[in-house]
């Protein structure tokens, strides 16, 4: 019975927001770090990669969830890969149609969305066990969380590495760009810094709760 009731949990706002903050794919679950490090050398690239990932994540999760009672366990991974690869191919064509420049900038990383463990992971861990609506909402949240993380990295790297944001000059020409920031090591440095900051904030939050608990207990006692 417990299993049945677990499946029936209603659709709440938490399903959507979990992916953005509490279970952020990049900052908390550390999934799909390859594109995170590789394409975030500018905000535009990050945003394009994020949108492409949202599309693949939402569509593949929707289809996996819709077919979840139909797919036998033994061939589920194969089926998921076919579904994901299909949507990645679609994104590949669509981006070429939208802008060849963007397509050339993102390079092989569009095709590599196929092996982004975030997408396969969500199909296996969530979409295959939850209703269509919930899977789509959760995928949307996860996708937005992923995009947010990409843009947070891309923003810092473009600002420090080129003195620009979205191609507009922010710093004066006197500013000497930190070229390392748009090179691969910059990806690691910025990701590490964001993780440090976010973990610090979360630790302080839980620390405050524990402290508040402790004082509450103290006041109860004589």
């Amino acid at each position: 019975m417990t299993q049945a009731t677990k499946k029936e949990t209603p659709l709440t706002l938490d399903v959507f927001t979990a992916g953005i903050w509490k279970e952020n794919p990049v900052f908390v679950m550390m999934l799909g770090l390859c594109p995170v490090l590789a394409v975030t050398n500018s905000v535009l690239n990050s945003l394009a990669m994020g949108i492409a990932s949202i599309f693949v994540l939402v569509c593949s999760n929707a289809l996996v969830s819709a077919l979840r009672n139909f797919i036998p366990k033994q061939v589920r991974i194969t089926t998921y890969i076919i579904i994901i690869a299909t949507f990645v191919t679609l994104v590949d064509y669509i981006i070429q149609a939208v802008s060849l420049d963007l397509y050339n900038k993102l390079g092989a990383f569009i095709q590599l969305i196929v092996v982004n463990c975030l997408i396969l992971g969500r199909a296996e861990a969530y979409a295959s066990k939850n209703s269509f609506t919930k899977s789509v909402v959760s995928a949307l949240g996860m996708g937005l969380g992923f995009t947010l993380a990409l843009v947070m990295l891309g923003g810092v790297r473009e600002l420090l590495g080129a003195g620009q944001l979205l191609g507009y000059q922010v710093f004066s020409t006197q500013f000497e760009p930190w070229v390392v920031m748009i090179l691969p090591p910059g990806g690691f440095i910025v990701l590490g810094s964001w993780l440090l900051l976010i973990n610090y904030i979360q630790q302080r939050k839980t620390g405050q709760i524990i402290a508040a608990d402790a004082t509450a207990h103290c006041t109860v006692k004589p």
């Binding site: 019975m1 299993q3 049945a4 050398n41 289809l63 077919l67 139909f70 797919i71 036998p72 366990k73 033994q74 061939v75 194969t78 089926t79 076919i82 579904i83 690869a85 299909t86 949507f87 191919t89 679609l90 064509y93 669509i94 070429q96 149609a97 802008s99 060849l100 420049d101 050339n104 390079g107 590495g161 760009p177 070229v179 748009i182 090179l183």
Partner: protein
């Protein structure tokens, strides 16, 4: 309740497994074909625009162009889809030849660098280039499009064809930054030597092979636009 999770579920028949995969593969195939058919003309148009933009960038005076393909020392009219070494001739408002755009490629620091460059057959000058494909290191190899000293090499880079029409009089060569002495030498960017060298190599290779052919067929290129209009 149903079976506990750790128990191995019963194996479904092979027919069911195969039919599941077949159905999913069919849905997937259908989607891919639909989107492919829909985006194909748009992508082709984008590619045409990208080529055209590059041609008009290296030949700023051109307003129209014709495509040719190189076939054993001859140039024959072609379109962008033709396989082979393509040569683009740019024409101004009065259908006069203003320059020729040629492809060149060589191994750079990370991967092949591909360029389209403008060539003035009458003066034998290479007058500019546009990077078609490059994965060079940002901030170093990418300077080839921004460094003013480097771009100054291409005001008129000497690529004159020798009297025997077998190659260039002087091979194009990249020299160390600050040591350029002749019009056929390219002053390298310090810190981006490998990319600078790649540019010298690719222009030399393309120049040695193609400039004599262009010189031989110059009258064809000069009159091609007017003739194509008269037809």
């Amino acid at each position: 309740m149903s079976t506990p999770e750790n128990q191995v579920p019963e194996m479904p028949s092979s027919t069911k497994l195969i039919s599941t995969l077949a159905v999913v593969a069919m849905i997937s195939g259908l989607l891919v074909v639909l989107v492919y058919e829909f985006t194909k003309p748009i992508i082709a148009e984008n590619q045409r625009l990208a080529t055209e933009r590059a041609i008009f960038k290296v030949l700023p005076k051109a307003v129209s162009r014709l495509t040719f393909v190189v076939e054993n020392d001859k140039l024959t009219p072609a379109d962008d889809k033709t396989v082979g070494e393509l040569v683009y001739a740019g024409y101004d408002k009065n259908d006069q030849l203003v320059g020729i755009a040629l492809n060149a490629a060589a191994q750079g620091y990370q991967d092949t660098v591909k360029l389209l460059y403008g060539y003035q057959a009458n003066s034998g000058c290479i007058t500019g280039f546009d990077v078609l494909k490059s994965t060079e290191t940002p901030g170093f190899g990418t300077k080839i499009t921004t460094d003013p000293d480097f771009l100054a090499n291409f005001k008129c880079l000497d690529a004159k064809v020798n009297p025997e029409q077998s190659g260039l009089i002087h091979a194009i060569k990249t020299v160390r930054h600050g040591t350029k002495q002749h019009a056929w030498e390219i002053d390298a960017i310090s810190g981006s030597t490998i990319t600078s060298n790649a540019i010298g190599r690719m222009l030399n290779k393309s120049g040695q092979a193609l400039h004599p052919i262009i010189t031989k067929n110059l009258s064809l290129l000069e009159t091609a636009k007017i003739q194509s209009k008269n037809k």
